[in-house]
Symmetry: C2
Subunit: 203 residues, 2 copies
DNA sequence: GGGCTTACATACTGCTCAGTATGTTGCTCC
DNA sequence: GGAGCAACATACTGAGCAGTATGTAAGCCC
């Protein structure tokens, strides 16, 4: 019999549940993640979870908004600001976040991509929020490429939005295929092909 | 009370179940596809299904081997033989199978990609078979690009295997993103970017 | 044409899991 | 310091679903 928490803290509890839910969902998908399994990753029980989240779906929405959005920005957008040439930055991020990832983690795929595949057609609200994440990601990359155009690293003739879309598309693709093949060997050749494409965009 | 079939035919029954299972799984994913829902698409019952397939997983394996493999070859590999320039063929297939697809169908994503996302980490045997499909697809594209090299449409310096991997990766990516955005508008810009990349490979 | 096997149909079981009803304890505020 | 509410804990319920046990009819063989 689990003893009630000595110290109560709504925000901390919420964060703990979100963290556990993200890990569980990332590993197993939304449907296969039972509430009980999520709670086993914490020191909490159903009372705590349903006190904060109206339903399992509601928890899922919160994972998208409060975990996946900031994670996406932190991993794939914010670091680009440090590069003079954003295209070079994108290549390095792919190498860092995919190429240097462990086989095990790579086998889990992309947290965003996984949820899109699983939930996009199941629940319209889920789709809305996932769509929003992609938009945020694409827009973030677009801004950086626009900056590269301004600074002269990227050709004036390129359409920043189109390139940003292509970048996100291909990153999701390499996540998906690497997950299916369970083999990182596609990553270096992928980076090399991406470099070929970027060369055609560089000033 | 459903009457037993007047005429029995093991092969036809198997084909009917596989067809129904594919459609259901394509639309809802493997886990969300209940046996009952699959059977509702047919005139059959559980007796017929479990007579042919030992388990739901076994049915899933058969869908991969007997539906998805031939479909992938028929849609993405075989038509390339009709093009003098395989790279041009690939672009046209993307336009045909994705660009000209209905919003509804596009929202369903790629049958192969969907299963990879959902099942790759759940069941090793599923992963083995899905991995095999990707390999078949990549090899098929590789062969065609190799042909393009021989016929002088593709630069001698290109690595056919690497390009084939990149092509499959990006096609899976555009399926995934289009599914998430539920918007075909990414397809034309994607094709355009792909054309830019291919231009760097053409002799 | 009768018997036997196989291709099905049907009713049932047991489990998993989201959600709920209800209980209990820490915290705050006066 | 105790009343009241919020933050949890726990036991239970009902639905959905894979799989099974068993029944029944069609088709082949002799």
């Amino acid at each position: 019999m689990k003893r009630p928490k000595k110290t109560r803290n709504l925000a901390e509890t919420r964060a703990a549940i979100l963290e556990a839910a993200f890990e569980e969902i990332y590993a197993n998908g939304f449907h296969a993640s039972s509430i009980d399994a999520i709670l086993e990753r914490t020191e909490l029980t159903k009372g705590a979870l349903f006190h904060q989240f109206a339903s399992k779906l509601d928890l899922g929405y919160a994972v998208v908004d409060e975990v996946i959005v900031p994670m996406t920005l932190e991993r794939w957008v914010a670091p680009l600001a440090a590069f003079d040439d954003p295209l070079e930055g994108i290549l390095q991020l792919v190498e860092r976040h995919i190429g240097e990832s462990t086989q095990a983690r790579l086998g889990l795929g992309c947290p965003l991509g996984n949820l899109i595949q699983e939930m996009s057609n199941v629940d319209p609200e889920f789709r809305r929020r996932l769509r929003r994440v992609i938009e945020i990601w694409i827009s973030g990359v677009e801004e950086q490429i626009e900056r590269g155009r301004a600074s002269g690293h990227v050709r004036r003739s390129v359409n920043a939005r189109a390139v940003a879309e292509y970048v996100v598309v291909t990153i999701e693709g390499v996540f998906a295929v690497a997950k299916g093949l369970r083999d990182k060997s596609v990553v270096p050749t992928f980076v090399s092909s991406m470099r070929t494409y970027f060369a055609a965009l560089s000033a």
